[in-house]
Assembly symmetry: C2
């Protein structure tokens, strides 16, 4: 097993912002009332000033505060592994590498931004954060992060997950998060669904509406989002910056970079520092592939237009590939990929042809996840198994062509809270 | 957060055997039939030759095979952390360090020996391994390890855990382990309980009897034990060997070393390489503390005598502190500590006064576990939380006396599969 190390001293000291390298500017978010570009002042009701500055920044490098580095270094730098056992199993001439973000205490890449967001809210005088969570990865990352900065954390958790995933709920509570099944009776957004049906299963869109409403109406409270926005993707670039150094240590540069896309943050986190080289013309042949579920084919089948980020329509309108804010995906196990839209930065780069996308069926994805667990030993999160599937397909293509491509993918999280889905797959009961 | 790194090159190349440093020889295991010292030939029916050689070896250093190093390096060297957030919370002048064994794919220290045992069985021509598991840590470690060496793995899992901990069962199956609720109808040992009650809750002692019987009666099958025996403790010394190098990098040597004791393997793994210094008189004041639950107080209340390792009486008799082979501990959540005996090596050193022991009540242990989760961010396994509790107590003693002691404990595993126990504790429902 090859694991490429970085020392603490080799951790990146700044995040990488891809915005200055975009061939054309991002389309601005629009005010949901006026449909005009939204003013930073209006965003201040839900986000603290330093995060809004990052959201609109055109600076390439943004320094990571010491206080954030301190917490990240509990599990960062994360390992980069060469997947030799998988290569042997596939009998491929390709070299497969994966960045292992599953080693964080919450089990995914999510705390990379949760810690940063908690810090900036803290220094801005905020006392409470609200957020939403589907499968629970983001809610547990934010609960984990807020406790280091003495912030209260309220998580609106999609009710169907609240009932089906008690372990994720308990993990949040162990880290002092307050978990509310959504739709709830505590917000206007939730009440309209809750009053019709107190057992309403909920959706990510409704939970976002509840969390934003609460932040907008309470002085001491801001809202925190786990993906999609520019500043969230920015915080995730530590993944790619580390991976780049680690690949350099191996004397290699990837030919193909792969990440699963729900909102886009783990994908962007790994790929953006490499994509810079493609944007400046140094690596014109670099392939960057976004993988999504066929049940929620945002990039592969969505429309590129302005849409709301939530169901009720409280968020700014953002230009993205979207399946429509009312789209309700099948209840696949990769809960983190069940979002109707995608990050504007990812969408722009996809629209301009710098990124390609592919969609896979859930069963194929679990098949790949199981192969990975049985060769490399780590059980991938269903989300991450999408990236595994594409990496395997690329490696098998190399087997046919004889090419010795260097494949790099993001193992964004482990599947230890998703074992019931693997159980269903093993028993042939997965749809 | 301070994390002390070791590079792959700094990994120990040999295991450390404490036997040559014992002030008096170990009492030999006795044949259950003749009550005479058992012959190595008889042990060959259940263990392969290289492991029997290690079991009786008096050589200080035993080389770790390349094939074992290769798999261990997937997660080793493990981090040594300075628990600064915990120190701040306790306002103690003590320096608290913990070795983080929770980062392995099965989530504990157990694969350190599982990989070695799978390897030695493989090169000895064995095709199948049997074992038992209580809470599931050991069964998942062995399932994880055997898949790298194309061995079949059958795990007899105590039925009450099989029913209550489906995630652990699924994890084993994901790694191709075959999991059988025990007592089962497949062995004589199991049948006598199963036929009276097909829903018999089972016990670790019965499951051991089943696994050993199967190994003893099938040519292609050997038995694998996750703790207690000398060779198991030997394989775990990578923990302490790494920790010693890491402490040296910090320019420190521990005053107190703490580990939870079920069978003794994580405790011995961390402490033995340091205990050598006490045995040779270089560190006469080093305190080494074994922590056990009051519900299973083997060292603190057991008798030092020969006893069987299992319930039915199939194992050799071994000299150890024991609560009696028929002792049934309360169903506490630290399943890995519910064993009636302890490793002969640990018992000998305890009997000679080189080790001390303390027992804690389950509620105090979970209180400590929660403090750790909310300061250091990692949710400890209930077993490991015993060590956390003692570390906290030591640190609070330092707060009173003003001593700046260096405390080192073993975080032997994470508690992500034990969250329902934390849930009960948070709700005040834990007994």
């Amino acid at each position: 097993m090859d694991r490429v190390y970085l020392s603490k001293e080799e951790m990146p000291r700044s995040w990488f912002n891809i915005v200055p390298y975009l061939p054309e500017p991002l389309d601005p978010p629009l005010d949901p009332e006026t449909k005009e570009p939204i003013s930073p002042e209006k965003l201040l009701t839900i986000f603290p000033e330093p995060l809004i500055e990052q959201e609109v920044s055109t600076q390439e490098l943004i320094e990571i505060p010491e206080e954030v580095m301190d917490i990240l270094s509990l599990w960062r730098p994360t390992p980069l592994h060469r997947a030799r056992k998988l290569e042997e199993y596939l009998q491929t001439p390709a070299k497969i590498f994966y960045k292992n973000e599953s080693v964080s205490p919450p089990g995914s890449h999510k705390p990379n931004t949760a810690v940063a967001q908690a810090y900036y809210n803290k220094i801005s005088g905020v006392k409470r954060l609200t957020t939403e969570t589907g499968a629970g990865q983001w809610g547990s990352a934010l609960s984990f992060a807020t406790q280091y900065f003495d912030l209260e954390c309220r998580v609106y958790m999609v009710r169907v997950s609240y009932n089906q995933k008690p372990y994720r709920r308990i993990l949040m509570e162990t880290w002092k998060g307050e978990v509310i099944p959504s739709p709830s009776p505590y917000t206007n957004a939730g009440r309209q669904f809750y009053e019709k049906d107190p057992n309403h299963p909920g959706s990510l869109g409704i939970a976002i509406s509840e969390a934003i409403e609460e932040a907008a109406t309470r002085e001491d409270t801001k809202y925190s989002l786990g993906s999609v926005l520019n500043h969230v993707l920015l915080h995730q670039t530590v993944i790619g910056l580390e991976a780049k150094k680690q690949m350099e240590k191996e004397g290699l540069y990837p030919d193909v970079i792969i990440g699963a896309v729900g909102g886009g943050s783990n994908f962007a986190g790994l790929s953006f520092p490499f994509l810079k080289d493609k944007l400046i013309g140094e690596k014109p042949d670099l392939e960057v592939v976004a993988v999504e579920p066929t049940a929620c084919p945002t990039l592969t089948k969505g429309e590129y237009r302005y849409d709301y980020g939530d169901t009720v329509g409280l968020t700014p309108l953002i230009k993205m590939y979207t399946l429509g804010k009312d789209f309700v995906p099948q209840p696949i196990h990769a809960g983190g990929l069940r979002y109707h839209g995608d990050a504007p930065l990812v969408c722009k780069l996809y629209n301009l042809g710098y990124i390609s996308a592919v969609a896979y069926d859930q069963r194929k994805v679990f098949e790949a996840g199981l192969i990975f667990a049985r060769t490399e030993g780590i059980v991938p999160a269903p989300e991450s198994a999408h990236a595994v599937k594409k990496a395997i397909d690329e490696a098998l293509k190399c087997k046919e062509t004889g090419e010795e491509k260097v494949i790099l993918f993001n193992l964004s999280g482990h599947g230890y809270f998703d074992l019931s889905a693997y159980d269903k797959f093993l028993r042939g009961e997965l749809q």
